[in-house]
């Protein structure tokens, strides 16, 4: 083997050892850019602000400690959301969480969430209807399975594309669509009930 070929081989072997620069090396920038979104997703998933806050911190800590595994195959948001979702799964799987979920006063009531709906220059009657719609949607979301709920929130709150949801959840695209169809069936049924009651 010639010296040149040997040098080329050595360089190609040494290349993976060199430090890879990832977006997470500048953690402060990543946190300031993506924290509101991750916190929002966790809050919507858990409906507990304290827990959402804790898991938001844990998400960024895990992203930073495992930053060497980030290869840039997906966007930073997708990667962070994937970590956040895994944390939600780990947390909600525990019996302790399920117990406290039943008895806790921390979980926010759908009506309370609906009260945050901005009402720019709308009449009082429209406000009441709008607030009821939001509360009803949240109640409908409560009835969804955990997987359906996650997909629904990623689509209709985070406005992720279906392929991105598939990447975050690790669920095939066709299954993501099926879950969304089912979730929308539930939402439409509830919606129809509200419309009938209002009439």
């Amino acid at each position: 083997m010639s010296t040149k070929a040997l040098a080329t081989n050595l360089l190609s072997d040494a290349a993976p050892i060199a430090a890879v620069i990832t977006p997470f090396d500048d953690l402060a920038s990543v946190v300031s850019a993506h924290r509101p979104r991750i916190f929002r997703f966790l809050l919507a998933s858990l409906r507990d602000a304290d827990l959402a806050e804790t898991l938001t911190q844990e998400t960024f800590l895990r992203a930073w400690t495992s930053r060497s595994t980030f290869r840039g195959d997906c966007s930073v948001v997708t990667w962070l959301t994937r970590i956040a979702l895994n944390l939600v799964r780990d947390h909600t799987r525990t019996h302790r969480f399920q117990f406290w979920r039943r008895v806790s006063a921390q979980a926010v009531d759908p009506a309370e969430i609906a009260a945050f709906l901005p009402h720019p220059d709308s009449p009082a009657e429209s406000r009441v209807i709008a607030t009821e719609q939001v509360a009803l949607l949240w109640k409908a979301v409560d009835t969804l399975s955990p997987r359906q709920r996650t997909i629904f929130l990623l689509r209709f709150i985070e406005e992720m594309e279906l392929s991105e949801i598939s990447s975050v959840t690790g669920i095939p695209l066709s299954t993501v669509k099926s879950h969304l169809y089912r979730a929308l069936t539930n939402i439409r049924a509830r919606h129809a009930e509200l419309t009938r009651t209002a009439l």
């Binding site: 402060a28 809050l43 806050e53 800590l61 930073w64 709906l117 209709f156 709150i157 929308l184 939402i187």
Partner: protein, 180 residues
Amino acid sequence: MRLRTHLTHKQLSELLLAEPEETSPRLAELRQHLRACPVCAAEIATLQQSLSRFRSATIAWAGHASASRSWLSPGLAPALSSVEPAASRSRFRPILWAAAAVLLATAIPFALHGHRSGYKSGAPQPAAEVHIQQSSPVTDEALLEEIDQTLSSSIPTPMQPLADPTAGHSSQIDSTPRKN
């Protein structure tokens, strides 16, 4: 496909899930139906409005919850403060290695010098033993003196009262014969 009736749930869902800029012959047909059918148009408009409100309320709620919190945990703070770009880490690595080498080169001669001086003083005993020897002469001398005294005396001290069974009683015993 010609749409003679209202849209099915699946078709409505397809329209709800489609991106605004997304185009396909099927979507074009569904959108065409919406333009022609006020019932389906109203149905999808109401759903879209509800979903939009749902999103707005959730964003406002999360914003409110986030604003009222100091969220930086002790676990994350060191990560944030100690973070430096990988490029700068790799740039400073040779300097760190050089500094470590200089420190080692300085420390080794001192260590060797100390080792050799220990041999020159002719003190093969470990430091701990030397310390014990210096601290014990008084005790040893007292012990030896006590042993000497014990050996030089004919009767050991504990047996002294037995040496003369009459000792201590002579004044009480009347040794003069009695006259009957």
